[in-house]
Point group: C2
Chain length 424, copies 2
Amino acid sequence: MSKIAVGIIGLGTVGTGVLKLLMDDPRLRVKWVAVREIKRPRDIDLSRTRVTDNPLDVVNDPEVEILIEVAGGVGPIFELMRTAIERGKHIVTANKELIAKHGAEIFQLAQRNNVTVLFEAAVGGGIPLISTLQRGLQANRISRVAGILNGTTNYILTAMEDRRIGFEEALAEAQRLGFAEANPRDDIEGFDVAYKTTILASLAFGRFVDVESVYRQGISDITDLDISIAKEFGYRIKMIGLAERRPEGLDVRAHPMLLPVHHLLASVEGANNAIFISGSAVGDVMLVGPGAGQMPTASAVVGDVINLASALHLPDFAPYFQPAIDCEHSRACPIEDSESAFYLRFEASDTPGVIGNLGRAFETHNVSLHSLLQRGVTRDGAATIVLLTHPTREAGFAGALREIESQPTTRRIGIALRVFRQPA
Amino acid sequence: MSKIAVGIIGLGTVGTGVLKLLMDDPRLRVKWVAVREIKRPRDIDLSRTRVTDNPLDVVNDPEVEILIEVAGGVGPIFELMRTAIERGKHIVTANKELIAKHGAEIFQLAQRNNVTVLFEAAVGGGIPLISTLQRGLQANRISRVAGILNGTTNYILTAMEDRRIGFEEALAEAQRLGFAEANPRDDIEGFDVAYKTTILASLAFGRFVDVESVYRQGISDITDLDISIAKEFGYRIKMIGLAERRPEGLDVRAHPMLLPVHHLLASVEGANNAIFISGSAVGDVMLVGPGAGQMPTASAVVGDVINLASALHLPDFAPYFQPAIDCEHSRACPIEDSESAFYLRFEASDTPGVIGNLGRAFETHNVSLHSLLQRGVTRDGAATIVLLTHPTREAGFAGALREIESQPTTRRIGIALRVFRQPA
């Protein structure tokens, strides 16, 4: 049997890992690699493959059957993927932003052209999440998927907790060790988790979710004080992607949460990722593993390529392989309609009336207090107040928060975080 | 499209769960259910299916395309499966004993008859282990699989630790709560884990392992003292199935082990199962979830059935689906050739010379001591001695143990347990 010709777009960290894994595969031949700079010296043998800086060379080669996209980004890459699909090429991609933003169009186009688009590496790095949702749990109606989907933020939060250091210090450390990028915005501000959660929600619930409708909050306002007080209350703070089926619709969001210390997700540390899946028949299943890194991500990409390659000879196999996702876009429920318990930290002047004001704001908006803690007084006469509420409508809490913010005794709102809710 | 006709052999706990999940599936029709006693009243509507007490009715019906075997046992069921495969039926089974003992023959027969045999439910209950090994981690060479594969023993060991109760009391409790069977031998003595580990090893390493060559030790000799001393040493005792690729061959075994408390597997509690997979590209991945129970097991069975049904129209799809396992049997390496650190508890008379005798036995057999603890003296003048060794050849430790046993100062060997080894 002749080898299946494959093209790789992008030869960064992941692309190099993919090439390493594919080089000696007896079933496949990497015919093309498209790079940005041809002349750059590289840590890998390129003598057996054609190298180009024009990705259209790869897309236009009729011999190439599988296109591996590990370049990242959306604008020009989206155009390139469209062309490749129209040319009948199967796609394997690690590009979460592309699938989260343009998944519906890409899937429709793939269907019309009878090709397959696989993207195991886009979520959870090396953890076989997508095969699990798509194959392993077929008999289940998935009610909820909750995950630690970003190694950078999990590394930072773990470091802050373990060594009682601040956010900036933990971020600098993560950057030094290669767990965070020089420009960490996508990770720190939750964009990365929002993309991944959007994809998980689409797979779990069978319809594409509009990524713009997904609520997002980053971790940069979390202090070591929040982490230690959360611990006193019996929680750990984790950056969570959550997708839940609710009577009102799909609840999809990406934000830090207080997780009960005994929850399985709470014990996932450092750069690991984890995903917690609740299914109608199976109950709760969790998968843990490396969420990023060269070889784990390459493992997921090449897994898709091998599965695809081993089925390519089957006639009409694409619809079997392609995840069944309705291409009509759904919007996630507005966050205002959801319900959570809240953690709040704010600074107030050390004067009488602070707690009374707080109580009135909560009463007006029907928010019920669970625990309250006042911490010392700073040199400038401010007291730090930390509290937990009972579960409450998001809109009610937001109203109370606005009122607290406007009270003369309030100096500054520090942070408001949601508490992970155990399903009823 | 007409519905695919399915037959179920066995309507116990799992079979009833399977029928519940399949009853309303638009793609499938449960045409037959074979039961042991037709007249027994059942908690499920059987009006839409034919019920027989002769399984050959199902196997001989040419309309049935998929046979679901949830009866258990090996003798007559093995014969029945052979007949079904020869009649061209695809098989979905939850029967770990059948696959562990006769997998090679069944797979060969399936290949000759161009049918598929799936068995996701045989290992790890509802956890999609097999799809992960077979699909998700395709790009990896698996070096080791280690798992908590038996909910009964994990429940008992967790209960002994949490509530400081003895083995018998914990077993009785597990039986009362339905986590252990009236005859618990298969679980307690490690047969169940040995079957499951054999299957995992076959999948992970691509060749069938002879179940008779798999070393097995049960948990009934473990006392609450062992659990609390292990904890002092920094370990938790777990029943582990281990399959590892070693230069000498395949190391496959099922026995309790001391796991470092910080290992991910150590935190898996109660009736949950977990599997820890080490792959060449991905690194370490862990899956956790319910390892038994009606609906989790049914979830795995029906997942296989749905995956199979959705591909049945593809011509020549069986070889793609069938896990690639070499049907030539391999034997696991003899346990004598392996290397472990050991935990040993024994009773000695409270006389001088005990520690000297111990030291001589270890020296003769080249075993090096790591920690030693002597606990009080009982009314009849016996002292309990507990120790940990450094990693040592199994044969050397066995020799030392025989020598210790024969020393006049030794009253009784309590238990010897292996310590989980982190791969180099």
